[in-house]
Subunit: 250 residues, 2 copies
């Protein structure tokens, strides 16, 4: 399997490229509208055609590149079936592996950050690679105060679905705000200040209830835009309009 990790710096979102060399099939996990051109350049450089985009959830901090990439490459839009978005081509659910050629991507239903959040798990033979979305971040986790988020639900998702994986499992998050790129399940069990070292559900809920976070700066246009798989809704403020303008001209 060919693998790349790329960052969109404004929202610190990681996009992951997955390619099956046996079949030529290629997917991007959590592409961002702002970096669609960068992704296309990489695909071209590697001589790959894009078959699928997969989103882990309806993001509130950036617009997905799914719709734009579909328009430009014909890639199919994959996302949690439970979202029931009319723009999604293929809905995935836990227990039903999604195949990118010979690569089996296992969706894990992991609500709490949003009520429909799914992580994706790939077993390479040597490593399990967990694309943890916004559920589990490095020494952190996604916030639980918007989009039907719920701290107790997130705690159970992480403990039941992630912390039961082997310690060596590689954790590839959807974001990191400090330039970190990777963790492991063992490392998060040891070091995550909200969830690690046997923190109880009650302790976690208290931590999340007292985060005192600012209102998400893109949520008002990102959520409706992502419910359309990355369309630019009319209420995008001037300062964030550039990717949308490129999109509309495309």
């Amino acid at each position: 399997m060919l693998f790349r990790q790329m960052i969109e710096p404004d929202s610190s979102t990681y996009t992951y490229l997955i390619h099956c060399p046996d079949t030529g099939k290629t997917a991007l996990i959590d592409p961002v509208l702002d970096t669609v051109e960068r992704d296309l350049s990489l695909l071209q450089e590697l001589g790959l055609e894009l078959d699928f985009t997969l989103d882990t959830h309806i993001h509130a901090d950036h617009l997905t590149g799914a719709k734009r990439l579909k328009e430009l490459t014909g890639s199919r839009i994959v996302g949690p079936a439970v979202d029931q978005l009319p723009c999604t081509d293929i809905g995935v659910r836990e227990g039903e592996p999604f195949r990118v050629g010979n690569i089996e991507i296992n969706p894990l239903f992991t609500p709490g950050h949003t009520d429909h959040h799914h992580a994706y798990l790939i077993d390479t033979g040597t490593h399990r690679m967990l694309f943890s979305g916004d559920a589990l971040l490095i020494e952190a986790c996604g916030r639980t105060d918007f989009q039907s988020g719920d701290a107790a639900t997130l705690y159970r998702s992480i403990h039941d679905k992630f912390f039961t994986l082997p310690d060596e499992t590689l954790v590839y998050p959807c974001h990191d705000y400090e330039g970190r790129q990777i963790s492991t399940i063992g490392q998060e069990k040891n070091r995550n200040p909200r969830l690690g070292n046997s923190k109880t559900l009650e302790e976690f809920v208290e931590i999340m209830d007292n985060m005192d976070l600012p209102y998400p700066r893109k949520i008002d246009f990102a959520v409706p835009g992502n419910q359309l798989c990355g369309a630019c809704p009319p209420n995008v403020p001037e300062e964030y309009r550039q990717p949308c303008l490129r999109h509309d001209q495309g």
Copy 2:
């Protein structure tokens, strides 16, 4: 490939288990005398027999488990050929891959922490896994003030041999003192406070020259002991003698 990461808590040393399922061959990278019994239990639990131990260098902070494991399992002792230790069964050198069954381990001559230090690189098909020894640690590096260490030499090793690897390369260090387990080459380029963000050789040498570190507490017996592949020299202080006693009784 089957893979495990284990820690010896007193010296915060990571030992790595590598197993080729096609051939049944198994190796341990940087085993520690204190945790030989733990390693043997894991091998037994997994139903594996040990074929090789590989050390990255002559450690100063712990005694290697190589000799003890050889006595107990018949495993062969592998280490840098340039060390010219009479107790080593197989000497490795850069440019000559060492095979554990179908797994190819590529030694990288990376002096600077010690003058004979080698890292080991494995390509799993999806990931490159760099066992970086004491040359590159997570947001740190091995000290350069003992054992023919040299900061400028270490800088060149890391920049020429490690930072030329793809950013996604997994970095598995020989130590971490804060419970971290993994990094990537990209992350170390970004975040390593001594070596990252285009720090110059001169800046690195100045940092290393001003570390003001305490005298290594085990060096006086660890280095001569490791020159015998993990024998217990007579000068082991009482407080560190327990693994040696187990060893002598074994």
